[in-house]
Symmetry: C2
Subunit: 342 residues, 2 copies
């Protein structure tokens, strides 16, 4: 019976491949023709941990046509409460009015939300989500920060193949998500509030210097005067570390979701940025460097995953970390312990 | 003859161990009694790639007595030309006058200097190097950034065991050395020059926000007025991102190696910093976090070293990187290529 079984196995394998190819080519044509459903399915596939799904997803990514034009990848960060959702809704609606196709992706590595957030994200950007030329996708899922980053990068590639001109990538603005997003966008926008008080504590040090534009949000009503004062204060601060290798001079703007203040000015800034970065070749350079950096990071992630896949190694690592946290062990002692054991 | 051979082998092994122990205990007693020669030898051992030396070095590190008091670990960074050597010489001499024992370590991962730099570092800090209570050690050697970091951390531990109260860790201020040093010191000092011009371009973005104090150096003669203006400008900038979790408020000072301006004020700042950080428990917390972070980094380094030890893997990695740099490949394509192959 062995030859028969082999025959059946081969046939099953061939049918599986055919199906995968059909799935992949259906998805690809749907994606390229601009179907939001196809785009959504494709992103679900790249986020799936099922090997068969991953097979199709990777095939799809390899076959993506090069985008006909350079999409603008815009990262948006700011602590919770700064008004990111309202800002993105208003800003997105303005972009749609100008005739752009806008995709909104979100990163929240700390979140354990999964399906529920689809509703969440669509609810918090209700008007924007009803637009035909808008695709909104909630927080990328993933157990590791590297995994989340990978999924979001791939989602960006999918959105671009689907003809979206502007990709807004939002972070929750805590932990390491800002630097993650900074590493995958062209333009990095930092939203802040007036009153350099408690709200600012959540912003990781060094993030301000990464921003290509800073926004003082909620600059309306009784807040407006304080926002303008903060604007000049931040502008002064930016001036101090102004000398960037790419020669871009970041600016500070006041915006308001209520009055629409500053959104037109912001878009002019972003357009000027892209003209500047494309003119001096810095944009292409930046994207290549991001890819190189990502590659190194992915390799490091993979190696760590392989290490931690061994539960003995993992528990040894955790125990050593705890000993370090208690002050009983120094890092180099812990690493020699690991090296001696494995 | 086999038993005899075994006997000889065992005897040789025992003698080797005895020698290593004698070496280690000689070094240790020399170190603890404050011998600069012993300290220098011990650092040479930790930097050695010879397994026998490493054996002694690791044994020595494990047996180091806990320092009787908390030494102040101070990182000093700034672009080439900012006057770090002169600054460290003057600052160091002031500390010696106050009765402190001062160690100066340097990190320069980009450098290929080895033995020659001993002369170089001692020449550029001639007066300081003649002081009895001063130990100056040139750039840590090492092929990888992680290796350099490890050696410097270990050198800090050795200096502390040898009774040095203040450890100055200098970087060349380019590339990644600033963040390395930031990750191993308590207090991080950034030296700058007036005229926010070309000199500033070398400072990595985000570094300013890491500084615990910023110094405008060479504030003398015709430069003094400009330095004072820069001082208020930077102070304004620091004020903007002032809210640190550890509640420390960084300041900006003007200093001059020629006139000695600002050095007393700087030391008051540093003392205030340590009082502040020890009072609220932040110093201990910071050191533990540094150790935890270092441990993760060391593990990642080790895993990468193991990967790159295979020359096939290494050349595949380099080829893929080149393809990414040419824009022919995306990072996730490159990583799947590696995963499929290995």
């Amino acid at each position: 019976m062995k030859p028969d079984q082999e025959h059946i196995d081969r046939w099953l394998e061939a049918r599986k491949n055919q199906r995968a190819q059909r799935n992949e080519s259906n998805l690809l044509s749907g994606l390229v023709s601009g179907s939001r459903a196809a785009l959504g399915q494709a992103i679900t596939l790249i986020e799936s941990s099922n090997p068969a799904d991953q097979e199709i997803a990777q095939q799809l990514l390899r076959n993506l046509p090069a985008p006909t034009q350079v999409a603008k990848r815009i990262g948006i960060t700011g602590v919770p409460g700064v008004g990111k959702s309202t800002f993105i809704e208003n800003f997105g609606l303005q972009l749609v009015e100008k005739g752009y196709k806008v995709a909104v992706l979100a990163i929240d590595p700390s979140s354990s939300r999964t399906g529920g957030s689809i509703l969440g994200d669509k609810t918090r950007m209700e008007r924007l989500s009803q637009e035909l030329n808008v695709f909104i996708r909630p927080s990328a899922a993933g157990r590791t920060l590297g995994g989340v980053a990978k999924h979001t990068r791939e989602a960006i590639a999918l959105c671009e193949a689907a003809g979206y001109d502007i990709i807004l990538v939002e972070t929750v603005g805590v932990g390491q998500s800002e630097t993650l997003v900074y590493g995958m966008v062209d333009f990095f926008l930092l939203l802040m509030l007036t009153g350099a008080g408690d709200e600012l504590q959540g912003i990781k040090r060094g993030i301000m210097e990464l921003a290509d534009t800073i926004i003082i949000n909620k600059a309306d009503g009784p807040n407006e005067a304080a926002a303008k004062a903060a604007r000049s204060e931040y502008a002064g601060a930016l001036h101090v570390f102004s000398q960037r290798p790419d020669q871009w001079q970041p600016r500070v703007l006041c915006t308001s979701g209520l009055t629409g203040l500053g959104l037109t000015e912001l878009w002019s800034q972003i357009e000027a940025f892209f003209v500047h970065m494309q003119f001096n070749g810095a944009l292409q350079q930046k994207r290549k460097e991001q890819e190189l950096h990502l590659f190194e990071q992915l390799l490091s992630d993979v190696l760590q995953q392989q290490f931690f896949a061994d539960s003995n190694k993992k528990s040894a690592f955790i125990q050593l970390k705890e000993a370090i946290a208690r002050g009983e062990l120094l890092a180099y002692e812990a690493i020699s312990a690991i090296l001696q054991k494995y």
